[in-house]
């Protein structure tokens, strides 16, 4: 066997040279819509995938609506958060009384009714969004910071440090997070937003620590990290500049999926009476109050419950779509 023949045709005078071939090929390709998608960047691909995903659009819209409601609560809510009217008023009913203090009888509309203190339910729910968002964002930020640090250090250094830190994480893993949070509330001694944030935040650390450690272990031996180490880059720099950016996708997905968990955790603590102070407008407290008046006023519990459901659903859908778009495995991030 020989391969002399392989050059046989090349001297042929009417054969196109490579550049020309490429030009013609491109002319053909340009007519086809397919080729143009090939050169898109990763970000555009992700963006396009999210934009073409109805689940993501729905989720994102509802999340934005929620954030908007929380931010502009005083403008959206029809009344002050502590204003009281007739108690246990049905949805779409009116309270009558001199609420403005000008000596005249006002007729006040309650779209969702009032609770057992006479608060306008819609107003309470709108202000409740604030607490939910505030607690969710701060707890996840807290858990992310501490958890990522633990995961990075454990994964990067390995050995004894890893063993110790992961022992701790395993230990925390053994606790259902709300029980742990309740225990922490007991330890912190007292109700209030700050304690709730600390309690839930600590309870969520393990999820981030595990995730980040796993990512670090898979990235640690990659060439670019080894290269960075070989040229004497400092550990801290390698961790923050080389490793962390590559673990961004699962971390973002995890954060999006932890926010609704934090919202549920806050509601659960408040529902148990272990959360914020009893006068604060939160969805969990409204649910607890509604349970008490379940025979008289179903709306007190049902509407706040629906609010939780819609917001949590929105975050879950958005997070799920993000996970698909980033191509993160379901088993990689945790759901509790």
């Amino acid at each position: 066997m020989s391969n002399d023949h392989t050059t046989a045709g090349r001297s042929d005078s009417d054969a196109l040279d490579p550049d020309e071939r490429e030009r013609i090929a491109r002319r053909y390709r340009d007519e086809s819509p397919v080729e143009s998608t090939e050169n898109r960047g990763v970000y555009r691909r992700i963006r396009d995938q999210i934009l073409s995903d109805k689940k993501a659009i729905f989720g994102a819209t509802m999340v934005l609506l929620f954030v908007f409601t929380a931010m502009f609560a005083p403008m959206i809510a029809p009344y002050e958060q502590d204003e009281t009217f007739g108690i246990n008023q049905e949805p779409n009913s009116y309270s009558e009384g001199d609420y403005t203090g000008n000596g005249e009888i006002d007729r006040v509309w309650h779209v969702l009714g009032t609770d057992s203190f006479g608060h306008d339910l819609f107003t309470r729910i709108v202000f409740g969004a604030r607490i939910s968002l505030l607690v969710a964002l701060t707890t996840v930020a807290f858990a992310f910071t501490v958890g990522t640090a633990i995961g990075l250090i454990a994964g990067y250094y390995g050995g004894l440090i890893d063993e110790l830190l992961m022992r701790y994480v395993d230990f925390q893993w053994a606790f259902p997070s709300i029980i742990l949070a309740a225990g922490l509330i007991a330890f912190l001694g007292g109700l209030g937003v700050t304690n709730v944030v600390i309690a839930i935040g600590v309870a969520f650390i393990d999820d981030f620590a595990r995730l980040v450690r796993g990512e670090v272990l898979s990235i640690r031996e990659e060439e670019y990290v080894l290269a960075a180490r070989a040229i004497g880059t400092s550990d801290r720099r390698i961790m923050t500049k080389e490793i962390l950016p590559n673990a961004v996708a699962p971390i973002i997905v995890q954060m999006t999926l932890m926010i609704p968990l934090a919202i549920i955790a806050e509601a659960a603590l408040s529902f148990l009476g272990l959360g914020v102070k009893p006068t604060t407008p939160t969805w969990g407290l409204l649910l607890a109050e509604g349970r008490q008046y379940i025979n008289q006023a179903w709306w007190i519990s049902v509407f706040p419950g629906l609010a939780i459901m819609v917001v949590v659903l929105a975050f879950n859908m958005f997070g799920d779509s993000l996970r698909d778009a980033f191509d993160v495995k379901q088993s990689e991030v945790s759901e509790k």
Binding site: A174, A186, L272, G290, S301, V302, I308, V310
Partner: protein, 319 residues
């Protein structure tokens, strides 16, 4: 395999010991000590000292620690500060209630999740898959206590077919009454659990159905049903067991909140009251109990694993 299980048991015991230790020291690290916090700032020095002596808090830390460990091993959990009742007695009445709810929750949850997950995966992209996926999302988004309130509203208040307050012990009131009272709370905690397990079943089975060995089975001429149950199911269940085990936590947490919805005196009620009353011995006992249940669950998962995954059964620790 024996070595593997022994290792897991030791690890579980270690975690329980760790929790007990952390709870012990955590409690003593509360600023001002539990007694001060308990009696309030105005309490006299004398009253505080008497209380401390009563609780054995005046002894050196290591003595207290050893005593606490010995007590634990003999299941002596101490007394409630508020009622003086033995905590082990309180537990004996509360634990069956919570576990009843959790049991129904797990049964209902798995009963819904596994068939739905299988149908959803085998009919991927069809209407039934779509409906199941949306339902799972909804289930995932409703906290158990909200489901409880909705169920109480519909079945208790509006239709009046099931009681919505209180518990009926199995031995005293018989299985029917027990079940009538435990059904709604059980469903409440079972639904979110079902949602999580269903999603895992679906995605895990989809992954397995796509595996090369499934194509091999088809190429060998194995029929569809046998492929699904003989070739795919065991492989698909491996990750499902992990999730189903870990998520028992979800059921327990759910039970704690749902007990309050249905006025059941389980460990949830116990814990909440203890925390609000600063009843530290009860608080620590409940936390320790929950942690032990979780550790036990994880241990069970590890052991079930050995039956499902031959790579572990035959001592291949690497996987």
């Amino acid at each position: 395999m024996k070595k593997y299980i022994a290792k897991r048991v030791l690890n579980a015991l270690f975690v329980v010991w760790l929790v007990a230790t952390v709870v012990f020291f955590g409690l003593r690290a509360i600023p001002g000590g539990p007694v001060r916090t308990m009696l309030g700032a105005e309490a006299t020095e004398e009253a505080v000292n008497r209380m401390r002596a009563e609780l054995g808090l005046d002894q050196p830390l290591y003595v207290q620690y050893v005593e606490w460990m010995i007590d634990l091993m003999t299941f002596d959990l101490g007394q409630s500060l508020t009622s003086g009742e033995q905590i082990s007695v309180m537990m004996a009445s509360a634990v069956p209630r919570t576990l009843s709810i959790a049991l129904i929750g797990v049964v209902v949850g798995l009963g819904i999740a596994l068939p739905t997950g299988i149908i959803s995966a085998t009919r991927k992209g069809q209407r039934s898959d779509y409906v199941a996926t949306v339902a799972a999302f909804l289930g995932l988004s409703m906290p158990a206590f909200f489901i409880g309130i909705l169920l109480a509203l519909v079945f208790g208040v509006w239709w009046g077919v099931l009681p919505i307050v209180g518990y009926a012990p199995l031995q005293e009131d018989g299985i029917v009454e027990w079940f009538r009272r435990i059904l709604l709370p059980g469903i409440s905690v079972g639904v979110p659990y079902a949602a999580v397990v269903m999603r895992m079943t679906r995605s895990s089975l989809l992954e397995v159905l796509d595996a090369e060995y499934m194509r091999t089975a088809k190429a060998k001429g194995v029929g569809r049903t046998t492929r699904l149950y003989k070739h795919a199911m065991q492989n698909a269940l491996i990750p499902v067991v992990t999730v189903a085990g870990i998520q028992i936590a979800l059921v327990l947490v759910g039970s704690v909140t749902v007990e309050l919805v249905f006025g059941i005196q389980g460990i949830g009620r116990l814990l909440v009251d203890a925390i609000l009353d600063r009843n530290y011995p009860v608080t620590q006992a409940v936390i320790l109990l929950v942690a032990s249940i979780m550790v036990f669950m994880n241990l069970s998962v590890d052991i079930i694993y050995t039956f499902l995954d031959p790579r572990i059964r035959y001592g291949d620790e690497a996987s």
